[in-house]
Each structure stands twice: as structure tokens, then as C-alpha cells.
């Protein structure tokens, strides 16, 4: 098998193609070119995965393709689209079952994000919150940038929607790499999911590595103070941490893009905070909203407010002298500038808004 042999790092992975007897026995059937193209797509994905996958597993998948196809034919279905769908789904499943997908240093799994996660949250983005996005052109086509956004809503739906916005609205379909609190990575399931969709710990190392690799990085400097603020303080920005994000951007020399989200602050109007329960459960707060926890899980459904996400003009950070990241005065100034920009944009957007639910 190819994996036992040492291969130099940058050489393309060898494609080892095991040939199973069952495949040889099947007589060749020429024709049906359209179908074969779809099959070829699948074959591409499966054959590159076959490095160490053994016959049993491949046979399962191959057989599954045939059975699906046969079922489709029996049901009177045919055509390219069906084949493509079958091929794409099976390709994804094959990669999952064989483990042949890549995660990067931070645990980001692009395959999972694109094929499972985004399709799951997209309906929420399009139909529930009906997100409007402006200023997507401020996100560069390539190279790093730091998106700094307001944080609100009791549950951090705003970061998820910003992730969809950056991916779906940007012509280059870029992935937003988010920085999260360590509570996220301590919490089972949330920890796993967050890493897979591109979140990592808000540590200096992570921010600098991501920006240095030319990624779009998202931070919510208000943190829990922002998400868990009472309804009465909606659209009032909380303290912006210690400006660590500004130092990271300065060191990497990437622009800071202020991002203002309107609509998220009303999805779970937080009227009270059950501090004792929060302490017991180890949460930073335990929200009491008009519906939660009174209606149980149903009360945790966010209100269908109409959202607008505005990406502002980039604030450049590359014009400063060497060592600017270590100048606390400059870092604080820039932090304030970013905060003020977002706060003012929020006010302007709120002035334009007619209705919470209709926009």
C-alpha cells in the first residue's frame, strides 16, 4: 500500500488503484455516456481515496451505487441530475467512511462544512432571518482580513449567519475562520462542530497563524458580554476586550473589516438572567426570555427577525511602523476606532429599518 512507503511531502499523493476480482468479472457495457460522466466523477473521488481503504469497504460503496441506480431505474427515474446527486452523495459518504478527508491544523473540515453544515443552516439564513448583505466587496478576493463584528442575541446565531454570508455572497466563496471562547471547546458536541466548521480558540497563535495563511478571520470582541446582554441594551456595544485582535491584524498587516449585524439582537429578547442556574451549569449566563425556559425547547426557537449584515470599508493596518503591534496606545486607538465605526453603522442601519420582522 502506498502509505507504508515514505513519500516526499510535496509530491502529489499517489493514486493506488486496487483491482478487485468482482470488478473484473462484470462484462463491459459500452454506451450511456452521460451516465458514465457522473460515474467518472464518483470514480475520481473514490479512486483517490482508495490508498489504504480495503476491498470490503469499497465494495460496500460500489455495490451501494449499483443498488441505488437499479432502484432509480425501477422507479422510472433517470438522467444526469440524479446520477450527479448519487455520485456527489456517495462521494461524500465514501470519504467519510474511509476517513479520506482533510482537516487543517485547526480542525477545519471544508468537506463537512460545504456538504453538511452550510446546507443545514442555509434555510435559516435565507428563509427564517432573510439576511440581506451589503458591502461584501470589502472582503478581499484573496489574502487575509480580519472581520470584527458586534455580538448579540443570547445564542450566537449571528456568527453562524456571518459565516454563511461570507461563503455564499462572496464571489470566491471564502470560508470565515472564527475565533471562539474556550468555553466552546470545553463543551461536548459544540467543541467538535465548531472546530469542523472553522472555529478555533481565540489565542494569539491561532489568530496570527490564520491571518498569516491569508484566511478571512472573524472575531466578536464583545464575547459573552455581548451575546448575553439584556434586551434593554440592544445595539449598545459592550467593551471590546483588550484589543488583542488589533495587535494580531497589525502584526499580519491585514485590513480590519468592521461588520455590523442588525436583527440578531431581537431573536431572543433576554429579560432576565438566572445567575444561580448559570453558575450551577457552568454557563456564563442563563437567559430568561418571554418564551424560554417557559416553553421548553420550543422557547429556544429564535424569533424570525429580518437581518441585515453590513461589511464596512476596510481599515488598513499596513501603514504603521515596525513594532506597532506592541504600542498599546496605537492598539487602543485602533480598537476604539473599530468599535465606533460599528456603533455608528448600527445606528444608521437602525434609522433605516422600519420593522423588526420585515426590515
Amino acid at each position: 500500500m502506498s502509505d507504508a512507503a515514505p513519500t516526499p511531502r510535496h509530491r502529489p499523493r499517489p493514486v493506488v488503484v486496487p483491482m478487485t476480482p468482482s470488478r473484473l468479472e462484470v462484462p463491459s457495457q459500452p454506451g450511456d455516456v452521460e451516465q458514465l460522466e457522473a460515474v467518472e466523477q464518483l470514480e475520481d473521488t473514490t479512486s483517490t481515496t482508495s490508498g489504504g481503504v480495503e476491498d470490503g469497504l469499497e465494495d460496500v460503496v460500489d455495490a451501494l451505487v449499483d443498488v441505488l441506480r437499479a432502484t432509480a431505474r425501477l422507479a422510472g427515474l433517470s438522467g444526469e441530475q440524479l446520477e450527479e446527486q448519487v455520485a456527489a452523495t456517495l462521494g461524500f459518504l465514501t470519504r467519510r467512511v474511509s476517513g479520506d478527508y482533510e482537516v487543517d491544523l485547526f480542525g477545519f473540515d471544508a468537506d463537512f462544512t460545504e456538504h453538511v453544515y452550510l446546507p443545514l443552516v442555509r434555510p435559516l439564513y435565507r428563509r427564517w432571518f432573510r439576511v440581506d448583505v451589503t458591502g461584501i466587496e470589502h472582503i478581499p478576493a484573496e489574502g487575509g482580513a480580519l472581520i470584527v463584528s458586534n455580538h448579540s442575541g443570547t445564542m450566537p446565531w449571528d456568527s453562524l449567519m456571518t459565516l454563511v454570508a461570507v461563503h455564499d455572497e462572496h464571489p470566491q466563496r471564502r470560508h470565515l475562520r472564527m475565533l471562539g471562547a474556550d468555553l466552546v471547546f470545553r463543551t461536548p458536541i459544540l467543541a467538535d462542530l465548531s472546530r469542523k466548521v472553522g472555529t478555533t480558540v481565540a489565542a494569539t497563535y491561532d489568530a496570527e497563524q490564520l491571518l498569516g495563511r491569508g484566511e478571512i478571520v472573524g472575531v466578536w470582541p464583545e464575547g459573552f458580554k455581548g451575546v448575553g446582554k439584556p434586551f434593554s441594551e440592544r445595539y449598545r456595544l459592550q467593551r471590546f476586550g483588550r484589543g488583542g485582535f488589533v495587535s494580531a491584524a497589525l502584526r499580519a498587516g491585514v485590513p480590519i473589516i468592521p461588520c455590523s449585524v442588525v436583527g440578531a439582537e431581537e431573536i431572543h429578547p433576554m429579560l432576565g438572567n438566572a445567575g444561580a442556574i448559570a453558575k450551577l451549569l457552568g454557563f456564563p449566563y442563563f437567559p430568561l426570555t418571554p418564551t424560554f425556559p417557559w416553553l421548553g425547547l420550543l422557547g429556544a426557537v429564535p424569533l424570525p427577525t429580518k437581518w441585515t449584515i453590513e461589511f464596512g470599508a476596510p481599515i488598513p493596518t499596513d501603514g504603521y511602523p515596525q513594532g506597532a503591534a506592541e504600542d498599546p496606545m496605537l492598539v487602543m486607538d485602533l480598537t476604539d476606532q473599530v468599535r465606533e465605526t460599528i456603533q455608528q453603522t448600527l445606528h444608521q442601519m437602525l434609522m433605516r429599518r422600519r420593522s423588526v420582522f420585515l426590515g
Binding site: 467518472e40 491544523l105 470545553r186
Partner: protein, 355 residues
């Protein structure tokens, strides 16, 4: 340079391979291998000297042979290998102290290479995605081996301070895997069912056993400017626990993170595997070493990536998943039927496909 090399821990896999590799090199004169038990495999042309590094006699050996390079590969990772935790700790800590004392007194020793471990960083939710060498060791190491290694590194730093003329190189290796080596983690991945922390999918990073040997040899014979200092050594890339489970074809059994103690004790009592307590934290939060310094300063390139290294272990791990093979043969029969009925399309005729 490297006229007489002393290697500790040669009866164990890595130490032995390092000694043999050094002994076979033309730019290395003699290689003296020491351990408390004779090595089982043939390590010639290395010369074996039976000695206990916990004993001051080690200083006499260093003197008698005129050792100029000391490779300390004798820090033991599993209590079983040392015959219990207390003896493991004694070999690791007291042994290192004696060895370093000998180095400090010696007039011939010029270089010291210490095999350490990435385990000293621990694994926690708040940790950065990867550890750089300047990251402080974890304050609460759960694994005895990690605790010992932190102490060992402390003594090595002390020696480097007292003898600034010595060239001291500390290599922090990622988890070593390969076809032959046996560690707590290879034991774990050889279990028929893998208990994994529920709701986590930690990132794992591996170093192939031959790369581990090559990196230590590199530090023993390399240029002074390259080798001095602490360096992480690991294969490229990461794989997740779920992927690793797929590669060894074992089903994963998600269990609460807090239940680790039960599993460690259970497997110990049943004799199936010797797991480290603390393994679950690594499986949950992941531990990745930043290898920038390895490339830019040490000038070492592993030949195996993390994935390749693990798969070379997985290929020998053997045992297959019964379910998959059963389902495979069942579906194959079904497919033969469907294609005989003229319903299934033929996968093998795909142009550019396999074959």
C-alpha cells in the same frame, strides 16, 4: 565531531535504532550503548555496556571511553516497561540526574541530545491550535511520563546554564507510531472497539518511528547552529480521532470524557492495553506541535506525514471491522444479482477509472 557517542536506553526500540543508525555512519567513530538489560536485537556495530544510569558508575563510563556526544533516549514512557511507576520515575528522574551530573563533570563531552515528548504541553480546551517551543509546559500533567519529562527538561536546562559551552539539543517528539513501535497510543488503537470522548474529535499528530530515529541522529551529528535548543518534531498535518478510527477500521464508542478512569483501569485489569490517564484529554482537545522551528532551525524534514505515519501503523494493526466485510459481501451478492438482471450499470467500464 561525534567520535565517541554514548546512547542510553538501547534495549528499547527507539534508543536501539538510534544507536545502530549512529554506529553505521561513517562520520561517527564508536557508539557505546548502555541499558540495564541487554538489547534483544542485534545492534552491531554498537558496543553494549551493561550499566544503570541511576548509578554513579555512569561517570566512569563517560570518562573511560572519552565520550564526546551523549544521546539520552532512556526516558521511559510506560510504567510497565520499567516494572512499575516508582521504578519508572526513578529511572527517568534519578537516572537523568546522574547522567547529567556525569556530563557536567566530564571534560570530553561536548554535546547532549535529549529525547523529550510533546506530552509535556498537555491538552486543554483553552490551548492554542498548536504549541510553539516557548509555550510553557502544562501545569497539571496527568501522565507520569509527561511529569517526568518536564522534570528532565528542567535538569537539562540547569546543565545548559552551568555549562554554556555544551551543545544541548532537546527534541520534543509527537506521538511516535509505525509498524514496530508499541506505545500507550498504539495499544489504544489496537483495541477492537475504541472508547472515545463523546462530543469531541481531537486533532492527532504523529511522527513515524523512522523519522523519530532520524531526527535524534540528526541532532547527534548535525551542525551546532542547527541543533542547539528545544525543538518540536512531528509529521506534517493532522488527522482527527474519527479519521484514525476509520484508518484502523475500529468502531468508535463515544463515552463521557469523565469516564476515562474506568476505561484505563478496565483495560489494565483485563490486560488488553496500558493506557495513560490523560489520553482522553488528548483525544478530546487534541495536541499539535508547531514544527516551524524543526524546519527552519533544526533543518529536519520528516519523510512521513502524520497521515502516512498513522496509516503505516494501521496497515499492521490488522484486525478488520467484521460488520463492514459482512455488509460488503452481502451487497456484492446483491449487485451481482442486479447486474445479472440488466439493471445495474457497470462500474468497471468507466474510462479512466481503476484498472
Amino acid at each position: 565531531m561525534a567520535n565517541v557517542v554514548l546512547v542510553t536506553g538501547v534495549s528499547r526500540l527507539l534508543g536501539g535504532l538510534v544507536a545502530r543508525e549512529l554506529a553505521r555512519r561513517e562520520d561517527v567513530g564508536r557508539v557505546i550503548g548502555i541499558d540495564v538489560v541487554p538489547p534483544r536485537r542485534d545492534l552491531s556495530p554498537m558496543e553494549f555496556v551493561r550499566a544503570d544510569i541511576r548509578n554513579p558508575v555512569i561517570a566512569k563510563i563517560v570518562d573511560r571511553y572519552g565520550v564526546d556526544t551523549v544521546v539520552h533516549a532512556g526516558v521511559i514512557a510506560t510504567p510497565v516497561a520499567a516494572g512499575g511507576r516508582s521504578s519508572q520515575k526513578e529511572i527517568n528522574v534519578i537516572g537523568t540526574m546522574q547522567l547529567l551530573a556525569a556530563c557536567q563533570k566530564s571534560e570530553t563531552v561536548q554535546r547532549l541530545v535529549v529525547k523529550s515528548t510533546g506530552a509535556i504541553y498537555g491538552a486543554a480546551a483553552a490551548d492554542p491550535a498548536a504549541f510553539v517551543e516557548t509555550h510553557a509546559p502544562t501545569r497539571h500533567p496527568e501522565v507520569g511520563f509527561a511529569r517526568d519529562s518536564i522534570e528532565v527538561e528542567g535538569y537539562v536546562r540547569g546543565l545548559a546554564r552551568r555549562r554554556p559551552d555544551l551543545e544541548v539539543s532537546v527534541l520534543r517528539l509527537a506521538n511516535v507510531v509505525g509498524p514496530t513501535i508499541s506505545t500507550a497510543l498504539t495499544d489504544y488503537f489496537s483495541l477492537p472497539v475504541l472508547p472515545v470522548p463523546l462530543g469531541y474529535d481531537g486533532r492527532l499528530q504523529f511522527l513515524h518511528e523512522q523519522d523519530a530515529v532520524a531526527s535524534i541522529v540528526h541532532a547527534a551529528v548535525g551542525d551546532r547552529a542547527q541543533i542547539v535548543g528545544v525543538t518540536n518534531v512531528a509529521g506534517d498535518g493532522v488527522i482527527t480521532v474519527a479519521q484514525a478510527g476509520r484508518f484502523v477500521r475500529r468502531p468508535l464508542l463515544p463515552v463521557p470524557l469523565g469516564s476515562e478512569g474506568l476505561w484505563v483501569r478496565g483495560y489494565h485489569l483485563s490486560g488488553m492495553a496500558e493506557l495513560h490517564s490523560g489520553t482522553f484529554k488528548q483525544l478530546a482537545y487534541g495536541r499539535v506541535l508547531d514544527t516551524d522551528r524543526m524546519r527552519t532551525v533544526l533543518g529536519f524534514e520528516p519523510r512521513w506525514t502524520t497521515r502516512e505515519a498513522f496509516r503505516s501503523f494501521a496497515a499492521t494493526a490488522g484486525l478488520t471491522l467484521p460488520g463492514v466485510d459482512l455488509a460488503g459481501s452481502g451487497l456484492r451478492r446483491l449487485r451481482t444479482t442486479t447486474s445479472a438482471m440488466g439493471l445495474g450499470s457497470d462500474v468497471t467500464t468507466t474510462p479512466g477509472g481503476r484498472g
